[in-house]
């Protein structure tokens, strides 16, 4: 009936306005309220049905709880309220109450002939919105609509508070809220799907950022302040108003804090649910974070912030990251217990350099960066990165710039860079290490991989430039997401001479390219990134792969393998089809593991091997394009680290992948992955 339709639409209305006006709009409300009645007593059921019909409600009878649940599941929005008996033979009414609350989040009214206090209390504790004593009178049923309205109102209010973007109320809110809300609401930290949405939203926002109010960028410092305030107040007592007061940041509104708090809470919740790693949560958390931070430091606190903000990074991780970042910039060695310190450090150096470049990148679009992690970084971001990369110096960050549209990219890039450096130092052996540590989380951005590829390649052109080049390439590759396109990037890898020089396999690049193209979708490994990477990686991946190989090749196939694997992981994830086998959770790890496992990569020296490697790697790495993987191996590894880190982070966030690298990635990125 109209009413029910109207009700339905109202109930699903995203805008509070729509909902609020519902009552006004429809004089017939609550008529048409869709009620599901569950009671094993047929007599009672008949009576209730008749009573509810008399109230002009739409009634569905059910004498079994299981059937009721089925009905509810089939018609997600088919009912407004559920009335259930307490004592039922097949399922306890309270159990049904819980299920409904969890799965459908509908108001549930309990009924019973039992009016004992304990039973009624049980109803309250289980979340029933009302408790009716049998025999039920029609007067009692006439008012049940209030529970529907109340619930909707509360939900709406929550949504508003969190600045839910999904509600479509972004416009009026500060852009930052929109960002937050989208991520928060979507539980960005939770699943890739949501992130994707966010990404899209982020992209939109980015585009229209000029039209919107200036967003609050939750920089590392700002977030640190926030976290400090929250910790000071105690997470339970932390209310936006007080946090705001403690933070004492001019221009920051309570709403900003509120939405950020919501995200943070989601993040914390996610963490506690996801990573059971004791270390993860606190210490390790910091450490890895720091590590990642370190790596990312170059990225710029903002990036992290953005990342975190966008929900890509769990709040905590973000915090750690931020801390790390801040710190890493300051000092090269972050105490990353989890992460290979060496790697970390190596990261730092390049990062710092990168950071410079990044700085302006990030500053230009902090939000993008963050969003970027899993999302796509706009090409411009990458470009920025790229540019900044260039300024970096040793590292071919430039490439990174390309790929790294997202902060993720940056992160990755910076990481790769550092890795690259490390690589230089270690010449290959490190690669595995690096990659492991680095690779883990970041992968997120397809671009990075792509970027890396470019970078590496470009530089690699010379082959020798393995390290730096790789860095670039790896960096590029890493950007996993957005940049995955790696617009033009620099990936010239494919084309770059470096590739050929690197691997001397000239052919490789081509192969790689091909490979990469194939893989183009890393996707599989990182659930989150998959989407992102997939489209991108193609060329890049291949290229990168080739590059990495080259670089590493020189030493031995192992090297290449590692690198490639590393790269592969990262970049390949997208490109790799085979990578598909890798599950996202393992992505981070996968990356490394691939490297390690891919000794076969050795073959890579020929681009073709690389391809295969890439294939494997890509599988693992979500990283969009790991193309550079090949040559970059060592380099990539570093890059991976970043990307992996990012991706890992993201993944963790999203998927709560506690178990595998995700957790790892999250906290300390890389411990697991470090192939060393």
């Amino acid at each position: 009936m109209n009413l029910s339709n109207g009700m339905g639409s109202m109930s699903t209305a995203s805008s509070s306005g729509a909902w609020k006006s519902a009552d006004v709009v429809s004089d017939q409300f609550p008529a048409g309220l869709r009620v599901l009645v569950v009671d094993d007593d047929p007599t009672c059921l008949m009576i209730l049905e008749k009573m509810l019909r008399t109230c002009l409600y739409e009634v569905t009878k059910c004498n079994r709880a299981e059937i009721a649940l089925e009905l509810l599941r089939e018609n997600k929005n088919g009912f407004d309220i559920v009335i259930s008996d307490v004592h039922m033979p097949d399922m306890d009414g309270f159990k049904l109450l819980e299920r409904v609350g969890l799965e459908m989040d509908l108001p549930v009214i309990m009924m019973s002939a039992d009016d004992g206090k304990s039973v009624v209390m049980k109803g309250v504790t289980h979340g029933a919105c009302d408790y009716l004593i049998k025999p039920v009178r029609i007067e009692a049923l006439k008012n049940i609509w209030q529970h529907v309205v109340r619930k909707k109102k509360n939900e709406w209010k929550d949504v508003e508070q969190s600045g839910s973007v999904e509600e479509g109320d972004r416009q009026p809110k500060p852009s930052e809220d929109a960002d937050y809300s989208s991520s928060a609401n979507e539980g960005t930290w939770k699943n890739s799907k949501r992130r994707k949405d966010e990404e899209e939203e982020a992209d939109e926002r980015d585009d229209s950022s000029t039209l919107k109010k200036p967003r609050v960028v939750w920089s590392v410092e700002l977030h640190q302040q926030f976290v400090g305030a929250v910790n000071q107040l105690g997470i339970d007592k932390a209310v936006p108003k007080k946090i705001l007061e403690l933070m004492n940041v001019p221009g920051l509104t309570r709403e900003n804090v509120a939405s950020h708090l919501q995200k943070y809470r989601l993040y914390l919740r996610r963490l506690s649910g996801v990573s059971q790693h004791p270390s993860n949560l606190n210490n390790s958390f910091l450490s890895p974070q720091e590590a990642s931070f370190g790596a990312m430091s170059s990225l710029n606190g903002l990036d992290l912030q953005t990342l975190a903000v966008t929900g890509q990074l769990p709040a905590q991780s973000l915090a750690t990251l931020q801390a790390g970042l801040g710190r890493s910039t300051a000092k090269s060695g972050m105490p990353m217990p989890l992460v290979d310190q060496r790697n970390l450090f190596s990261f730092e150096n390049p990062k710092l350099r990168f950071a410079e470049g990044q700085q302006h990148l990030s500053s230009s679009k902090p939000m993008n960066l963050l969003h970027g992690i899993p999302t796509n970084m706009e090409a411009k971001q990458l470009a920025n990165l790229h540019q900044s990369a260039q300024s970096l110096g040793g590292v071919n960050m430039q490439v990174n710039a390309h790929g790294v549209q997202n902060s993720a990219l940056l992160m990755q890039m910076s990481q790769p860079q550092s890795r690259g450096q490390i690589l230089n130092e270690t010449s290959g052996t490190h690669v595995p290490r690096l990659s492991s540590s680095m690779g883990q989380p970041i992968l997120s951005n397809g671009i990075p991989s792509g970027v890396l590829g470019r970078n590496g390649i470009a530089d690699n052109g010379r082959g020798a430039g393995y390290n730096p080049v790789q860095q670039n390439s790896s960096m590029l590759n890493f950007p996993l997401n957005n940049s995955s396109e790696l617009p033009g990037n620099n990936f010239t890898l494919g084309s770059t001479p470096g590739m050929s020089s690197l691997t001397s396999k000239g052919a490789f690049p081509e192969d790689v390219n091909c490979e990469i193209k194939r893989s183009s979708g890393f996707g599989p490994s990182y659930g989150i990134y998959n989407e992102l990477h997939q489209h991108k990686s193609n060329d890049w991946d291949l290229q990168n792969v080739g590059l990495t190989f080259d670089a590493s090749q020189h030493t031995n196939t192992m090297h290449g393998s590692l690198d490639s694997s590393v790269l592969v992981h990262q970049g390949f994830s997208s490109s790799q089809r085979s990578a598909q086998s890798r599950n996202p959770s393992t992505v981070g790890k996968a990356m490394f593991s691939i490297g390690e496992g891919t000794h076969h990569v050795n073959v890579q020296n020929n681009g073709q091997h690389l391809n295969s490697l890439i294939v494997d790697n890509t599988v693992r790495v979500k990283a969009e394009r790991v193309p550079d993987a090949s040559s970059q191996t060592s380099f990539f590894q570093e890059q991976f680290g970043q990307e992996d880190l990012m991706s890992a982070l993201l993944k963790q966030q999203q998927e709560g992948i506690g178990a595998t690298e995700n957790e790892f990635d999250f906290d300390g990125y890389s411990l697991d992955n470090i192939p060393v």
């Binding site: 094993d40 007593d41 047929p42 007599t43 009672c44 008949m46 009576i47 008749k50 009573m51 008399t54 008996d85 004592h87 019973s112 002939a113 039992d114 049998k134 025999p135 039920v136 009178r137 029609i138």
Partner: protein, 150 residues
Amino acid sequence: MDKNQSRRQVRLMRQSLFDQGFLDEQFIQLEELQDDANPNFVEEIATSYYRDSSRSLPTIELALEKTPRDFNKLDGYMHQFKGSSSSIGAKKVKAECQQFREYCKAGNGEGCMRTFQALKKEHATLKKRLEAYFQMARQAGPIETACRPK
């Protein structure tokens, strides 16, 4: 009997059911639900009740006879029985159910047995009275809306 007489008869019968405590307010609720869409709603409900309760009584009886008595189970059965009885307004039956539950809680098997017998009796009595009432009501034709017992 003529129509008027029939109708008066029905009214009286109905009134006595209330007066004698067989039915309570809930029955009136049911009567109020009766409308043109469901002209025999109350009778349908009563029929449904008796159909179900007739099935559950033997179950309870069996459980009662089993020794050692499972009072929790018995209490559970009775809870259910009480619920449906109260939903049609079967006042006396409901009272017996309550009593039965009290004995169950006290673990008084004998008390349960006694009460159960009384319950069965009330259950049967009400059934007869209602059947007569409904029959008369059908014969008398549609009656005026329910009026509360004085």
